[in-house]
């Protein structure tokens, strides 16, 4: 554990923050720009995992385990979220025969 933290700390913290922000932005752009529901799920996962990485980096730099515990919770929630999302996708696919979210246009004003 000690050596791992030392290895993590060889890279400056700013790099982690920049990298995670970039990952997060890619996720946000993916959600906004893509119309395929599966790609949107993947982009959301990217957003969650960038937060995971950032929490781990902070936690290693501060020698505080709270951030790493949080990561476990996020992983569990992300897994549950994907399970629900895929189930909903199957149901939607049955009625519309496509996973393009532009097909979701019954409700509008």
């Amino acid at each position: 554990m000690g050596t791992t933290i030392a290895q993590i700390q060889t890279i400056p913290l700013q790099y982690y923050i920049l990298f995670c922000s970039a990952l997060f932005s890619i996720g946000v752009i993916g959600v906004l720009a893509k119309r395929n529901a599966l790609v949107i799920f993947m982009s959301v996962e990217l957003m969650l995992n960038s937060a995971n990485l950032l929490l781990t980096a902070f936690s290693a730099y501060r020698n505080d385990p709270a951030g790493q515990i949080f990561v476990f919770f996020i992983m569990v929630v992300a897994a549950a979220e994907v399970a629900i999302g895929l189930a909903l996708l199957v149901v939607v696919y049955r009625s519309t025969k496509t996973i393009d979210i532009n097909a979701l246009n019954r409700l509008k004003w």
């Binding site: 529901a37 959301v44 505080d64 949080f70 979210i101 409700l107 004003w109």
Partner: protein, 459 residues
């Protein structure tokens, strides 16, 4: 804490009864469990107990809001047997999911650590995603669930990244520790904390359904089964706003300058967009969705003008909003069952055959619009007075203008009920199944209007 444990156990018992195909004991178990949870929740009033290293804080704020949430869920469950009458299967999954969502909302009002905020929000949201799609063969319900899921998980991403940045800046996820850090670094806030707070605020605004992140709400509210919409519009919204209030008041009250302007813009936009969009709706269910957005804007005023007094005002406001919304949705369910449509025309001539339901709907609408002597007026009055006391006069002027606009669309169903003739043959059966429940909700609303001061000074 005991309330959460009780409700979780009740939910598991409900699932068990469903698994062994017993339909009869389901609802009695839920009623008894929720009543028990309501009483257990009140234990510890005025004591401010901390559980699990300040993960869960049972102070007066959380006890009062949890009482409102549990009571609201009980009211929603009272409508369940008539709403789900045509369904033959035991429905244990829906009841259990509503209970699990309630557990999430109870955690949200009482969190003492950002970890619990996240867990509570996700417990609530994940249950609501499924509930929104619980009419499996209705394409509208499917679409509502899918839209809710996509926007909701997107918002969770923002919330999480914001929490990660807050943790990185302050070194802790405990609200008290963050407060200490904020006070120490008041002079020059690190950019990481400001950005983190902004991202968390965006995530919470999504969950509340306030502008500019409100666009999911009308579609989701319209497509979901109406009973679930009722639950979402009341418990989901009140829990989210209480969580937001708790976060702001316990950690960031000292640094108003970095978030006050942003939230003021959000609140103004929410009030205007909510009220103006509701103006054009012919679909009453969708109109209630926009009305819910507008009320989220009013409740945001309480967050902006936060001092300890504002908590009581927020409590009164959420009670008045909750009870009026439940009454209105109950009448809407009844009308929809008889006429098959959510259009405003379906209300034509309701007063002739169902004077009691029409009266309940009328006072619900007037209370939401804020007409004295109903509770909605007392709530708005207290809210505006406390906001002016904190020097937010321009914001209150916008809110009052919004309130005046809202009178028009709240009066429309009332006019349809009393002044217009029933359209066609679809006269609503006066021996409706909802009579008792609607009467109960209306009586509650009138009772609440008599004693608003009690709740303002409660916490």
């Amino acid at each position: 804490m005991y309330a959460i444990i009780t409700i979780s156990i009740v939910a598991i018992i409900v699932l068990f009864f469903g698994a062994i195909e017993k339909k009869a004991p389901l609802l009695p178990v839920v009623y008894v469990g929720l009543s028990l949870a309501f009483i257990l929740n009140l234990v510890g009033w005025n004591q401010s107990v901390h559980y699990y290293n300040e993960m869960y804080i049972a102070d007066n704020f959380s006890i009062a809001f949890n009482g409102v949430l549990i009571f609201t869920t009980l009211l929603v469950f009272i409508f369940a047997p008539v709403y789900y009458k045509p369904v033959k299967r035991p429905l244990e999954d829906i009841y259990a999911l509503i209970l699990f969502a309630l557990v999430g909302s109870l955690i949200m009002t009482a969190f003492g650590n950002l970890l619990m905020l996240f867990v509570g929000i996700e417990t609530l949201s994940l249950s609501l995603y499924i509930l929104a799609g619980s009419k499996k063969f209705d394409p509208n319900s499917n679409e509502a669930a899918m839209k809710y899921f996509l926007t909701g998980s997107f918002a969770s991403g923002f919330l999480l990244f914001g929490i990660a940045l807050l943790y990185g800046a302050s070194g802790s996820m405990n609200l008290e520790a963050i407060k200490q850090y904020v006070i120490l670094n008041q002079a020059h806030m690190p950019g990481m904390l400001t950005i983190g707070l902004l991202l968390v605020a965006i995530g919470m605004t999504f969950k509340i359904g306030a502008a500019p992140f409100h666009f999911w709400a009308p579609d989701v509210y319209e497509g979901s089964p109406t009973l679930i919409t009722t639950f979402m519009a009341t418990v989901g919204k009140v829990a989210a706003i209480a969580a937001f209030f708790r976060l702001m008041s316990s950690s960031f009250a000292e640094v108003e300058s970095i978030w006050k302007l942003t939230l003021t813009i959000f609140a103004v936009a929410t009030i205007l967009i909510g009220n103006l969009s509701a103006f054009y709706q012919d679909n009453v269910k969708r109109m209630f969705a926009y009305s819910g957005i507008a009320h989220a804007g009013y409740m945001l005023i309480a967050v902006i003008a936060l001092k300890q007094q504002a908590a009581g005002v927020l409590l009164l406001y959420s009670m008045s909003y909750t009870i009026a919304t439940i009454t209105a949705f109950a009448v809407l369910i009844l009308v929809r069952e008889e006429t098959g449509t959510f259009s405003i025309k379906a209300f034509n001539g309701l007063a002739k055959h169902n004077p009691r339901e029409a009266f309940a709907m009328t006072i619900a609408m007037l209370s939401l619009a804020g007409i004295p002597p109903l509770v909605g007026f007392a709530a708005k009055y207290n809210l505006f007075v406390s906001a002016i006391g904190q020097g937010n006069l321009p914001l209150v002027i916008v809110a009052i203008i919004g309130s005046m606009i809202s009178v028009y669309f709240y009066i429309r169903p009332v006019i349809a009920m009393y002044a217009k003739l029933p359209s066609g043959t679809a006269a609503i059966d006066s021996s409706s199944n909802y009579k008792k429940q609607i009467t109960l909700a209306a009586v509650l609303m009138i009772l609440l209007g008599l004693i608003p001061g009690v709740f303002v000074n409660l916490i």
